[in-house]
Each structure stands twice: as C-alpha cells, then as structure tokens.
C-alpha cells in the first residue's frame, strides 16, 4: 500500500479572469491529520471543491491510492472514499438521529422499512463516537456539535478513507471543540485520514500532524507540524508579512457617556447594565450561548427587551430603522443570512443602509452611488475587479468588508460588531482590526462582541465578560488581564 493516500499533481483551476488554483502539488500521507491553511482566496475552498466533485478542474491530476481520482459530485466522491463535513451540515432536522444516519440506504421489504446489519453498524459507530446521543432523538433538537458527530459517524460507517472538515469549530463552544478534537484523534486511530481546514491556528498546533499552506492559489509549503516553529512562522507563510500587533492603550479617554443600558432583560439577558463612553472600543466576551448576540440585537432594536437603553440622552425605541436614525449600525453575526445581499452587487450592498444619502425625493443618483462604492472599495481595500460584481462571488473577508462599508455609509456614531471576523482569514482579520482602530481614531465608538479572546484582548479598551446572559465582570485592558481568570469566569466560575 502506498504511504500517500492522496497525491495532487499540477492541479489548476481557472475561473473567468482568475486562476484560483495554480499548479498545486503536494501529497497527503495515510492516517494523519493534515491541516490546510491560507487566507481567503488562497485557493483552499476551490481545492476542496475539486476534491468533493463540486467543481471541475482545468487540468492536473489527483491520485487516490495511486489511482487517478475524479469526482463528479459529492456523492460520487463519498462512494470513492472522500467524505466532507461541510460548514452547512447535511442533516434533516425533522428526522430522528437514526433516520438521518440511514437516509438513502434504507432497506425495505414491500415498501416497509426494516433494520439491517448495515444500520446497526452505523448506530454502533455513532455510539462508539459519542455515547450521549440518543438515536431516537429528533436532530433539530441537537446542538451543532452533535449534528457534526452524526455526519462524521455516517462517513466512518461508509468506510471512508478521507474526511475533509471545513472549519468544523466555527460554530462550536470550547467544550464542544475539545470533544470534536477527541473524535478527530479517534478517527486517526481508526485509520481515517483527516483533511482539516481552520482559521484558528492554535487548533492546528494541537491537532495536526502535517500542514499545507496555500497563498494566492499556489502551494507555499507542506511540512510536519513538529517542524513549524510557532504561530508567527505559520502566519508568515500564509501572508508573507507579519501582522500581529499587541494592544496599545489609548492616550486620552473621553468621559462623555454615549450609551447606557439599564436592567436590560429578555428571554436570554438578565439585568444587563453598563455604559459605553464616546471613542471607546468596548469588548463583550463570552462563549457561544452567553448572550452576546442577544445583547447586540437588543441594543439595535432587532429583538424585544425590557429595561432601558439610552443613546446620547435619548431612549431607544426598538426597531433597527430607528436605531440607524439615532446613529447605531450593526455588523451582524451571520454575514450571509443577516448582513449581505448576496444576489446583489457590491455597490447596491454598500448603499443599502443609507439610500436617503444617495437619493433626492426618492430618486436614486447612480453616479453618487458609484462614487460611494468606489470610495469604500478603496478605503477598505475590497478586492474586486468591479463594483458591479455580485457579492456572492467575493471571498469571506471581502464580503465582511462590504458589510462594514454598508454600516460605515450609514454614518453611525456607534458601531456594534457581532463576531466581525468569524470565518475570515488571518490577513483579512488584521485588516478588520486596523479598520476598527481607524474608526475610533475618527471619533466612532465600537462595541465588539466576540467569542475569540485573542481578538478581544488585541482590540478592546474595556472588556465585559458574559456568562448565561449576565455580565460577570468588567476589566480594563492593559491592566487587570489574566487569560486564565477570564476563561474561569466565562465558563461559570466565580469572579475573583
């Protein structure tokens, strides 16, 4: 048997006007966790799409176990031994765990379902991976983490050789991530090769055996993790320049209170009270489910609440449209479903939040709209060949910059950022942090909601820790910061 389960040779994929994958060559060894990293637009996604049969290669060859491999569809890829755990999970919420696992492979006699050994085997695999999942439970009631495990079990039972995991931890909490890691390690023991894609570089050091770095569609390096010195080296390979800066305290602090929340409660929040001063970057850190998004949406008027939220001395009255008028803009948690109009062009997205400014008496001024779009494309360095391109065709980081542009054009004093760097690459993340700083320098105020501690520590002046819908602690960055304490508090420990 070959030591390399997968060999990629001279792979090229051309899209109109762009070469997304450019002469990529590397091998993946059998029975390892092989990480794939690179900025958005580096060609990872396209490479994965070719492997899973979602798109066709232009030229080059892929050898699976030494034999030429070409998948026509994700199902074809699965039949040939390559399964994928997509970010959008492929489970049917209305069915039970068992029904999901057996979907498509049911055995029937005269149209009646009956259990076969095959099905029992899948259930056994699932029990083996995660005993706490009840096969009779409805999938819609399970967490994302458990849904993932169901998909993994399905792949393992079909005797897959390779499982591709595309950002599997993006929507998981810390404890769920650890459980997933245990499962990944188990898969390796079982002889499965895992191709692991993540923007969280720490994960790659904990989990990976090998790492392949891609940049601008090209293969940069493939090496054993043990030979990578540290995070900085990896980041350097990915973007070819060093970007990580540490927090610099601001010189002057304004005392003017911009926003006050008093006893804000709703289905998730419990008596949340705090204030935000003009020109501050205030961080809200907590795990998934701590109530960050709920708080952001309540302030913006997107969800109902009781209690009082006052901006510049005036009470806010609960609709997004009024919040925008009062000077607040939200960069929502879910870019594609809440922030972006993916069917529409970049310029139409950028103007969406402030049509008044580019119109007179309801008539749009298209040259003003183009000028606005051009301005933000340059200012935020959105990479595109045209402002008339649909935003669905942009990479995640550039999409997020379009959402930022939209909010900036709304001309808000207070920007609420809910997980602004989720699912975007290191380079774009650094750009987003730089944008945030520049905004504050220009007199804006930022509320930064995130479940990634490093970025909170990197950017924020003041930090609130959330747990189960309550504010558990307030910290001044640069002074009383101890990561261990913070983790202790946001996982439910008492504040010291």
């Amino acid at each position: 048997m070959e030591t390399n389960v997968l060999q990629i040779k001279g792979l090229v994929k051309d899209f109109p006007g762009v070469r997304a994958v450019n002469d990529v060559c590397f091998d993946i060894k059998r029975n390892v966790v092989h990480c794939l990293v690179g900025e958005n637009g580096a060609g990872k996604s396209t490479l994965i799409k070719i492997l899973t049969g979602a798109c066709e290669r232009t030229c080059g060859s892929i050898l699976l176990n030494g034999e030429e491999y070409c998948a026509r569809s994700p199902k074809d890829a699965r039949d040939k031994g390559i399964s994928t755990l997509f970010q959008e999970l492929n489970v049917v919420d209305q069915l039970t765990v068992e029904e999901n696992l057996t979907l498509g492979i049911e055995d029937t006699t005269f149209g009646f379902l009956h259990k076969t050994d095959k099905i029992k085997k899948i259930i056994d695999v699932l029990k083996d991976l995660e005993p706490s999942i009840n096969p009779k439970e409805r999938v819609g009631r399970l967490s994302v983490a458990k849904k993932q495990i169901i998909e993994i079990a399905k792949a393992v039972a079909s005797e897959t050789e390779i499982i591709i995991m595309d950002e599997p931890t993006a929507a998981l909490s810390e404890s769920e991530i650890e459980r997933l890691f245990t499962i990944v390690k188990r898969l390796r023991e079982k002889g499965v090769t895992v191709i692991y894609i993540s923007h969280r570089l720490d994960e790659i050091f904990t989990l990976g055996d090998y790492v392949t770095v891609m940049r601008d569609g090209m293969h940069v390096a493939t090496k054993p993790i043990a030979e990578v010195k540290d995070r900085t080296e990896l980041v350097h390979l990915m973007i070819g320049r060093t970007v990580i800066e540490s927090y610099v305290p601001k010189e002057e602090q304004s005392d003017e209170v911009l926003l006050t929340c008093k006893d804000v409660c709703n289905h998730k929040l419990k008596n949340v009270s705090f204030n935000v001063k003009r020109g501050e970057i205030v961080g809200f850190y907590g795990l998934i489910g701590a109530g960050k998004t709920e708080l952001a949406r309540a302030i913006y008027g997107a969800d109902s609440y009781s209690g009082e939220i006052v901006l510049k001395g005036e009470k806010l009255k609960g609709t997004p449209e009024k919040a925008i008028k009062a000077g607040i803009a939200l960069v929502p948690e879910e870019r594609r479903t809440q922030g972006l109009f993916t069917l529409l062009t970049i310029k139409h997205n950028i103007s969406a939040m402030n049509l008044k400014k580019i119109s007179k008496l309801g008539l749009l001024n298209s040259s003003q709209e183009r000028a606005t779009a051009k301005n933000y494309i340059e200012q935020l360095n959105i990479k595109t060949d045209s402002m008339d391109k649909e935003t669905s065709k942009l990479s995640g980081g550039n999409q997020q910059k379009v959402v930022f542009s939209k909010c900036l054009f709304a001309n808000a004093d207070l920007l609420i950022l809910d997980e602004p760097t989720r699912g975007i690459d290191v380079g774009a993340k650094a750009e987003i942090y730089a944008i945030v700083r520049e905004l504050v320098a220009n007199g804006k105020t930022i509320m930064f909601f995130s479940s990634e501690l490093p970025e909170i520590l990197h950017s924020c002046d003041r930090i609130f820790l959330l747990y189960e819908g309550e504010i558990k602690a307030e910290l001044q960055n640069g002074k009383d910061i101890d990561s261990q304490d913070i983790i202790h508090i946001v996982t439910g420990g008492a504040a010291s």
Binding site: I324, L340, F341, T342, L343, L363, S386, M387, E390
Partner: protein, 341 residues
C-alpha cells in the same frame, strides 16, 4: 494600484453585462426566433397587423404583470389579481347602472357617475390588497395561501354582485368609451395606458429607492430589516399596488366589452405569473425585471397567436403554451447557470 481604480470608472471592468441584462437579451432572442418560426410556417403571419394585434391582445397581462413582478422580486406571490379583475369589472358596472326600480335585478345598480364608480371600485380593490398586506406582511402567512384565498373572495364578490352572470343592461354610453378609444389599427387606448404604466414601472424599478428596497427585501429579508428597511410596510404597499393595477385592468376590460362579466380574468393570475417568470424573475425573490416581463408577455402572445394561425384546435393551445414556457424557462436557467459557473 492605479489600474483597478481606473477600471472601476468604466461601466463594468470585465466588460460583462449583469445577469438581468443577459437574461433580457436571451429572452428577446427567443422572442425573435419564435416570431421568425411562426412567420415561416404560417402564411401572412409576418405583417404589421400581427405585430399590432400582439400589442392589442396582451396589454392587460402586462399591466397585471407589473404588480406581480414587483411582488415576485420582493419574494412574494400574488394569485389574487385574476379574481380582482373580475370583481372590478362587475363592480364598476354595478355602481354605474341606473338605480331606478323598473329594471330587473341584474339591470339595477347604484346609479353613480362613472368617475365616482371607478374610484369606489378601486377602493374595494385596495381593500383586497390590504387584506393581502395584513395577512402576508404583518402576520407572515405564506403569500400563496393568502392570495389564493383573496382570489376566491374577490371572484366571489364579483359572482354575487353579478348573480353569477354579467351586468350590462342600462349602462350609459360613457361606460364603454375608455376601453374603446381607437389609437391606430386594432390598438386602443388601454394599450397606451399599459405602455405608460410600464414606463413608470421601469423608472420606479431602477431609479428610485422604492424600487431598490423591493430588491433588497427579495434578496434578503432579514438583512433588509437590519439595514433599516420598513419591510412590512413595503410589502403591504406592493400588494396594494398590485390590487390597484388589477382593478384598473378590470375596469378597462369591462369598458371594452361594455359589460361587467363575473368570470372575466379567470386564469389571468397564472398568465401574469408565467410572463413574469419568462422574463427571468426568480420565484425566490431578488431577481426579475419589468422589461423582462414585457418580453415574456410578447413571447406568450406570439405562441398563442401562432397556435391559432397553425389552426390548432383550441384545446391544444394550452399544451403548446405549456411546452414553450417550460422550454424557455429551462433554457433560461441553463444559460444562467453556465454563465455563472
């Protein structure tokens, strides 16, 4: 750095037209091809008369299509327009018919001046539109369910008011004027009204914030809400607009026949939807255009008249229409997918 910025100034850097413009061109080509085919196979089909008839016989679908297009772009269906056409026709007749006791029940109306009758009729249409708005925009019931319901209500009002038949007795001459003012050849003023409405709709669709918001809502309702669009109000307005256009259509058609016929407009809601889809609108919202809809209406018109010219028995016309519609829409999707690959 200089180059891409320069490129941004050009209309489109890649020289590519938008998907919408692409589809409109494709469908226009389909229209030309179908017209050419009909001209080859049917004697004397290629003539000014045919072209004029095409306009004269399809204006009403175009007016209805305007409202349906805007709604479809916003991600909503309107199946009530056919019912409203029937209702508006009957009511405009009922309001205008003389109030004297002497006539039979079907000849007795309210005796209102025609202008007042038109206003009243449009008000009732707006009321149906408001019902749609209330249930769909405010209470978020699926639009197909609500508008099928209001289609029945409107049709029912027409049926009751016309006793299941038609109201024509005793109508003043004025009633038959507006639908019958000749312009040239077979084209009457109603077609000109349709043309004016199309121009206004094109303008609203592309040049106003109202039109833009319609696309924003259809492309992503939640993102539109979070971007400050008053989504419920906007959808409500679109339904009122669509009902109003259907009311105008019904009044014009009744005037043309000088009768309020309670079964008028049956199936129009389907034709209006079909021409909108032929024009490249997506049933999921966010995509579509009035211009495309007009081309779609002409395609359907060519197919209908060709079927007639080919001496197909009338019962075969439906199937021919269906086949052409299916082929056109499948071709459309195929070309669009290939283009965006």
């Amino acid at each position: 750095m200089n180059k891409p910025i320069k490129a941004l100034n050009a209309r489109s850097a890649t020289g590519k037209i938008s998907n919408e413009a692409f589809l409109n061109r494709v469908m226009f080509l389909v229209l030309i091809v179908l017209f050419a085919l009909a001209s080859i196979f049917i004697d004397k089909y290629f003539s000014t008369a045919t072209a004029l008839n095409l306009i004269a016989n399809n204006w009403y679908i175009v007016i209805l299509g305007i409202g349906v297009t805007f709604l479809l772009v916003s991600g909503h269906l309107d199946m009530s327009v056919g019912g409203i056409v029937g209702m508006a026709g009957v009511l405009s007749a009922y309001f205008t018919q003389p109030a004297n006791e002497g006539f039979s029940e079907l000849g007795q109306g309210l005796g209102l001046p025609y202008g007042v009758a038109i206003l009243l009729t449009l008000l009732v249409c707006l009321f149906i539109g408001m019902l749609n708005a209330l249930f769909i925009a405010k209470m978020r019931v699926a639009s197909i369910i609500v508008t099928l319901g209001t289609m029945s209500i409107a049709r029912g009002i027409g049926q009751v008011a016309a006793l299941g038949a038609q109201r024509s007795a005793g109508l003043p001459d004025l009633f038959g004027v507006i639908g019958n003012v000749p312009l040239f050849g077979p084209i009457k003023i109603a077609a000109a009204i349709a043309a004016i409405l199309v121009v206004i709709a094109l303008f609203i669709e592309k040049k106003t914030s109202f039109g833009r918001r319609t696309y924003l809502i259809g492309a992503n309702r939640e993102a539109a809400r979070l971007s400050g669009v008053k989504v419920e109000l906007h959808i409500g307005l679109l339904y009122m607009l669509s009902a109003l256009l259907a009311g105008i259509t019904g009044i014009l058609l009744a005037s043309e026949m000088k009768a309020g016929i309670s079964t008028r407009g049956a199936g129009f809601e389907f034709n209006a939807l079909v021409v909108t889809l032929l024009g490249g609108a997506s049933i999921d919202g966010g995509v579509g255009s009035v211009l495309g809809m007009v081309i779609g209406a002409l395609i359907l018109g060519v197919v209908s008249s060709a079927a007639y010219g080919l001496l197909l028995r009338p019962e075969w016309q439906f199937i021919l229409k269906a086949v052409v519609t299916f082929l056109a829409i499948i071709a459309q999707r195929y070309l669009l997918d290939r283009r965006n690959k």
